[in-house]
Amino acid sequence: MSIDAATVTKIARLASIDVPEGEKEHFAKELSGILQWIEQLSEVNTDNVPQLSSVSDTTLPQRKDEVTDGHIREDVLANAPMSDYGCFVVPKVIE
């Protein structure tokens, strides 16, 4: 499978990363190289093989649905590039 500049445009949009026109060809070439190398997995017969998402042998623990912390608004906002009135501030999203 090879990736062209149009595909780079598409995945860059999905990933919300601005990729300048001049870099698209280069990314396309590099990503194609990686994908071609990954293609070798098609040699492996995986019929009836289960999917493995975690090697952890414990089932995910559950806890009571109750508040365990909070009242740390200042901490939460401490690293915000922009905040006001105890909220994060972003560019206007509605007219």
Binding site: A15, S16, P61, P81
Partner: protein
Amino acid sequence: MAALTELTLAEARDALKERKISATELTQAYLSAIDKLNPDLNAFITVTREQALTAAKTSDERIVKGEARALEGIPVAIKDLFCTKDVQTTAGSRMLEGFKPKYESFVTSKLWDAGAAMLGKTNLDEFAMGSSNTTSYFGNVISPWKAKDGAKDLVPGGSSGGSAAAVAARMCLAATGTDTGGSIRQPAAFCGVVGMKPTYGRCSRWGVVAFASSLDQPGMFARNVRDTAITQTVICGHDPKDSTSAPRAVPDFEKALTGNIKGMKIGIPKEYRVDGIDREIAAIWDKGIAWLKDAGAEIVEVSLPHTKYALPTYYIIAPAEASSNLARYDGVRYGLRVTPEHGSLAEMYRMTRAAGFGREVKRRILIGTYVLSAGYYDAYYKKAQRVRYLLVQDFKQAFEKVDALLTPTAPSAAFAIGENSDDPVKMYLNDIFTIPTSMAGLPGISVPAGLSSTGLPLGLQIIGRAFDEETVFRVAGVMEEAAQFRAQPQRMEQG
């Protein structure tokens, strides 16, 4: 009495308890080593001088009162991927320059609760993505080692290259690392130190900047196996804040160093002897086999048939998880923000992420996004998860026959900065011997075993069953004793 920085961690611990040295003078010795060496090696991004000296003062007081804890007064370095309260935590990225977390990671809080002192935060590949420590926004880490014939600066390995270099150059007694596909073991091998990645779930990932959550695991670097065992014991343990953290008791790993491996079965995976394996790597591996045999172990050839597929599987799963994990860097809650004039929120996201991430990180996010996107998810991501199942089965079957595996850590000695950077796949091949273990979540350690003909360290890796770090440490101790590795890097604190 030997110079302060010549003491091993175990020796320093004992000397502190007996009040032959003070924590303050020990910490000062390391801070002055950092002052001297860091301008050349760039192993630290941030040095926390005041914090280190304050901790040392507390340690000296506790020692006087007879209240010394496991690592009382021991100066350590922290990979800059661990959140440290009110101390800049960058992940080696422009995205997090100036980020000061308001909380402490589980692993580092364990260290401080045990009395260790933080010297600073060590450099790393950006978001731990790399095998050479050349992708950091804060510059390359330079290996303290030089080849006999070479004037060129060498890579320390990666991604925990700053930690490995700092331990090798005696800028600290031990350092934390994280290992996703070899990021502790490979730099340990390149820098001639010991590096341990424990079983997935042994150490909490709480407060560690996430790369690939099903693989990431914290671990320790130190100068020898005993020092690694002492510190590794401290940082392990169950943490309810990490749902994959294992609710299991942690043994005292130092006690596992009995020096006795008689009758133990050591597996040699035949698929690791790949075509074109470096002659010197093959030779040091053979030496390792002979050492363990001489110590009374039985050597058994085993097969891990899917080995060659581990690397491509990893380069689907790790970028896929990274693309999700790194979605959080959007310029809203923390980190860099780039806002074009009159730009929309979506433009702010795109510009911020374009400016904040370096090239390798972008490459991995794009690959990860691609393999998870509609139409490709089944062909790539699901396929990789199935092959991962087969990789785990390979190890399960091998461990029915043997107690531990012995392999090389890396396919070569350290290379020069800039080498392997023209082709991403070539760089990825550095982790060929470490990634299968990561995919299976098993514990692995790298121990320095000898020097290449150019005078650079070569490491051997011991792999164990899940949650059997004790066997890994025991075998590592025996191998270290046999190897008698005494070489030292050209650039280090001379005491």
